[in-house]
């Protein structure tokens, strides 16, 4: 196990916070500098993807198709057909919703080497409301064969996942959040697709999380530890393919599993974990996520509202641990 979080600061909650888009653009520029095949493809989303510097450095290699998501993903597939490695960078709600059939047919089924980067996913757009929330993206894409789904939790994991995606042939979807999050992974962290990372050991209950919610899960475990409950925290950056062994081990070795994610409660990480334990090692699972079109509020407010404040996650875990 990499260095435990407790070694780094008294609480994850007190660490500095980062916008993962910064790690995204820095890493993408590094990758593009090293590999001329890499191009960006956007739908007028240069600013919201923070790609201005990329555009300046590689003016020919940032293709802006305009506000046209179906075309954007089709064009990316065509670029891949010509040997390029396109990183499509667009608000996740429009990328996955508007172009879902292109993702299915042109990218996944055609097995084109396209990297889909869903920017500002989940409820990052907060008060802009459910039209701009992308809580469904994980469930939609999980149903599609041949596409790896990655939900990084911090800048380190965002950069690591991007590097892996660039050197791997095949369709990938990566969520890149704009919500400020603390670093939860070790500096020398290496992303391995389909591999979970146990960030904190524990044998009473397991919390499986990813993305912007993971640090909240770690704080919840800190709180539980203070009252004598030992909570295992599993980071599950790859929703598909899922690390089945780690999930089964958690089901076997602890009294229950809480999943927590910035996504719909139907068909996301929680769904994947539930499908796994029910077939391999039945146990109690509490799925935390967003069960409805959210009311007006910031992303942070809404996560709290849906039981994903550190206190909320701790409460869900406590119920399973003490039952």
């Amino acid at each position: 196990m990499p260095d435990t979080l407790a070694e780094r600061a008294s609480s994850v909650a007190d660490r500095p916070r980062f916008d993962c888009r910064d790690a995204y653009v820095t890493t993408l520029a590094e990758l593009a500098k090293a590999d001329h095949r890499i191009v960006g493809v956007v739908n007028d989303s240069v600013g919201s993807s923070k790609l201005d510097a990329f555009k300046k450095a590689f003016p020919d290699r940032l293709i802006n198709v305009g506000i046209a998501e179906q075309d954007m993903v089709g064009v990316a597939a065509g670029l891949a057909a010509g040997g390029r490695i396109p990183f499509v960078s667009a608000a996740s709600c429009f990328l996955t919703g508007r172009a879902l059939e292109q993702i299915k047919a042109d990218v996944a089924y055609s097995n084109h080497n396209v990297k889909l980067c869903g920017m500002s996913p989940g409820m990052a757009y907060g008060e802009l409301g459910p039209t701009h929330h992308s809580i469904e993206d994980i469930a939609w894409l999980r149903a599609i064969d041949k596409i790896t789904i990655v939900v990084p939790a911090d800048p380190i994991e965002t950069a690591a996942a991007l590097r892996w995606a660039a050197e791997t042939t095949g369709p990938v979807f990566i969520r890149v959040s704009r919500m400020a999050v603390p670093a939860v992974n070790a500096d020398d962290y290496r992303f391995v697709p389909g591999r979970a990372v146990t960030l904190r050991d524990g044998d009473d209950v397991t919390i499986i999380s990813n993305g912007t919610v993971l640090w909240r899960a770690l704080v919840a475990a800190e709180q539980l530890a203070a009252e004598g409950i030992s909570a295992r925290v599993v980071s599950m950056p790859t929703v598909k393919p899922l690390d089945v062994d780690t999930v089964v081990a958690a089901a076997r070795e602890t009294r229950g599993i809480v999943t927590a994610e910035e996504a719909t409660t139907a068909g996301g990480l929680g769904g994947a974990v539930a499908e796994t334990v029910v077939q391999h090692q039945p146990t109690r699972v509490r799925i935390l996520g967003v069960p409805e079109f959210a009311p007006t509020g910031s992303a942070g407010f809404l996560l709290d509202r849906y039981g994903m404040s550190p206190e909320g996650i701790a409460e869900s875990a406590r119920r399973l641990a003490l039952r």
């Binding site: 293709i63 198709v65 305009g66 990316a76 597939a77 065509g78 670029l79 057909a81 040997g83 089924y109």
Partner: protein, 325 residues
């Protein structure tokens, strides 16, 4: 809109070898000769004759294919075969030997439901064994009702849902431009398919990026699944629409191999502009009882209809078109 493969009509006429059925008990039906390409020194007349004979052989084989499979889209197949035969027989810089060469020309079949026509054309020019055509639509066959590039050499994208090929072609033409490559991009779209908005998104992008290595060919047969385009969602004036979207527009008789050869080899017509070829065609061409008949979108010829159609194709001079839409 999605073009579904299915033999909803004439199913009672299916031979024993229908989808999911026993192997065909009838005579071996994959008899098409492999035609290949003429030498680079062939004259225009020789090329046109070669393409014409290829198209005739492809139609004969495709008819048998659909009859024996008990499913397929024979109407759309026959409106597109002359374009396909011209491209693979005399225009595209791709052969079975260069099918993986990054610098090959790319052809994207956007109207993926005419997969039968594409497979037969690819077999005619040696990209896959002619005998393999006998597996068309059979369980576990690589020859699905819509093409899969991971299974069939020469197929460049997995199409089927409409409105996907043109954006992919634009992306490929962009890659060629970035590579400063001379490789060309051709895409065949159905006319009904142009009702999908994604095409027009892609056309704007093609124009914006001045992709003059891109040629869009419209199979303008004026029929969609259940009705004429005019009755459904009229596309006219299609030439003016394409021109307004920044394309150089050319109209051809989509069954005239000479016209097709001249136009498809001569692109681009305007530097900096992608080309939009409106190929006027008839679904079911040139079979008298199929041509321009909406009923033949995915009707399957029974034994008598097969015999009749094969007789018509064996004539040196196929019958003239009946009506003109």
């Amino acid at each position: 809109m999605t073009a579904l493969t299915g033999a909803t009509s004439a199913s009672e006429d299916r031979p024993a070898g229908g989808v999911g059925g026993r192997p065909p008990t009838s005579i071996q039906h994959t008899t098409m000769p492999v035609l290949g390409r003429l030498s680079p020194y062939a004259t225009r007349d020789e090329l046109v004759a070669h393409v014409a004979e290829a198209a005739r052989q492809i139609r004969i084989q495709d008819l048998k294919l659909v009859h024996h499979a008990g499913a397929g889209h024979i109407g759309g197949d026959f409106s597109a075969i002359d374009v396909l035969a011209t491209l693979y027989g005399a225009v595209l810089n791709v052969t079975p030997e260069t099918v993986d060469d990054p610098e090959r020309d790319r052809f994207f079949l956007s109207k993926g439901h005419v997969a039968g026509a594409l497979y037969t054309t690819l077999a005619a020019f040696g990209f896959l064994p002619v005998e393999q055509l006998a597996t068309f639509l059979k369980p576990l066959s690589k020859l699905n009702g819509h093409p899969n590039r991971n299974y069939v050499p020469g197929v460049e994208a997995n199409t089927g849902p409409l409105g996907h090929g043109l954006p992919i072609a634009v992306g490929h033409a962009l890659s060629a431009k970035l590579d400063v490559s001379r490789r060309r991009t051709y895409v065949l779209v159905g006319d009904g398919e142009l009702q999908e908005g994604s095409n027009w998104e892609a056309m704007m992008a093609a124009s914006q990026h001045e992709l003059d290595s891109l040629t869009v060919i419209v199979d303008r047969n004026r029929l969609q699944q259940g009705a004429t385009t005019r009755e459904t969602n009229d596309l006219d004036p299609l030439d003016q629409k394409a021109a307004a979207f920044g394309f150089a527009v050319v109209e051809v008789n989509g069954h005239d191999h000479g016209e097709l050869l001249d136009v498809l080899s001569a692109v681009p017509f305007r530097p900096g502009k992608p080309t939009f070829v409106i190929a006027h065609t008839h679904k079911g061409h040139p079979i008298s009882f199929m041509s321009n008949n909406v009923a033949w979108h995915h009707k399957v010829p029974n034994a008598d209809q097969l015999t009749l159609a094969l007789e018509e194709l064996s004539l040196d001079q196929p019958q003239e078109e009946g009506s003109d839409a």
